[in-house]
Subunit: 192 residues, 2 copies
């Protein structure tokens, strides 16, 4: 059973870090934003979800994720049980155990690794991405927090080249994803 | 009870226009994208949801909408029963009956009314918004379809000044909303 703070609130109070857990709704909303973006439709996005227990969920960009939350939870329960969700032709979701965020990053060929946090330096994303484009850095790896409060548990500075902030206040994971995806499309995927 | 195609599928098959109905999940995802956007946090957004039965839902921009879908459905059922959701200090959601999309538009002071449809002319939103900014048209009214398939039931050309398309393929309502909101923020809400 997938923990959901909306339904298992009292049980979760006793868990360590209970306030930061049981929010698969954040993952669902983030994935719907990412997978249905124009950047993804153009085949330019890879999504990995890293969990607090060092598990990674690899998401096939062609996955048509259910919009209904209850069905999404069913899918996640199936994934954690079978470790793979596949159709006849392809693997849609795959679960990997015992992998840190750092190890996930090391497997990619990103030109630039950036984290998003209110603690980062304030930037305007269009100008920031334009500079990266001029430096011929099109492969960006963006780390977005998917927890309801607080900051990253790991030391972001040790695994990123830059930590940036898009707004003074906390933003939801899917708002940060939208900002990244629309600006990436504007700057990197269109003719000058 | 709010119709939900995920749960009431067989009952809905008998309803007229059944394939276009029972998708409160689209409204939920759209509202979370809109209300948690930077444009809304800066106080520059008004959201109205118009239903197929000519009802309007006015959403207070300060509403902190529940992310959990099951709770959102509970809220909508309460809204359709009581016609208003309020706290001690303010009205969060209000339902109005017997109002057409045209009548909603006429009550606003928009400089420019645009619809979004794959049938519209292809534009690049940054350039399109820049032109509107130069023409001193900051108050945009954007009409986004919230149905799972097909096109608008009403004649969009009769109620809009422009119909535009952002991509060759269908986009989800929240993807269109993201494109509008991030580009609006970039063009209209930042110093040149």
């Amino acid at each position: 059973m997938i923990l959901d703070a909306s339904f298992h609130h009292s049980a979760m109070k006793k868990l360590p870090d209970g306030r930061r857990r049981g929010r698969p709704d954040i993952t669902h909303l983030f994935l719907l934003t990412a997978l249905e973006s124009i950047v993804n439709k153009k085949g330019q996005l890879t999504v990995v979800v890293h969990t607090r227990n060092n598990k990674a969920i690899y998401v096939n960009p062609e996955t048509r994720l259910m919009r209904n939350y209850t069905r999404f939870i069913g899918l996640m329960e199936q994934l954690f049980e079978k470790e793979i969700i596949e159709t006849d032709e392809k693997i849609l979701l795959q679960l990997q155990h015992d992998i840190t965020l750092k190890e996930i990053i090391e497997k990619t060929d990103a030109d630039m690794i950036m984290g998003f946090s209110t603690q980062g330096k304030h930037v305007q994303l269009p100008e920031y991405f334009s500079t990266l484009k001029k430096k011929k850095c099109p492969h960006l790896l963006c780390i977005i927090g998917g927890f309801p409060s607080g900051d990253f548990q790991c030391d972001l500075t040790a695994i990123t080249q830059d930590i940036i902030s898009l707004y003074d206040d906390m933003l939801s994971a899917w708002t940060v994803a939208s900002e990244i995806l629309v600006n990436y499309e504007n700057i990197f995927l269109r003719c000058p």
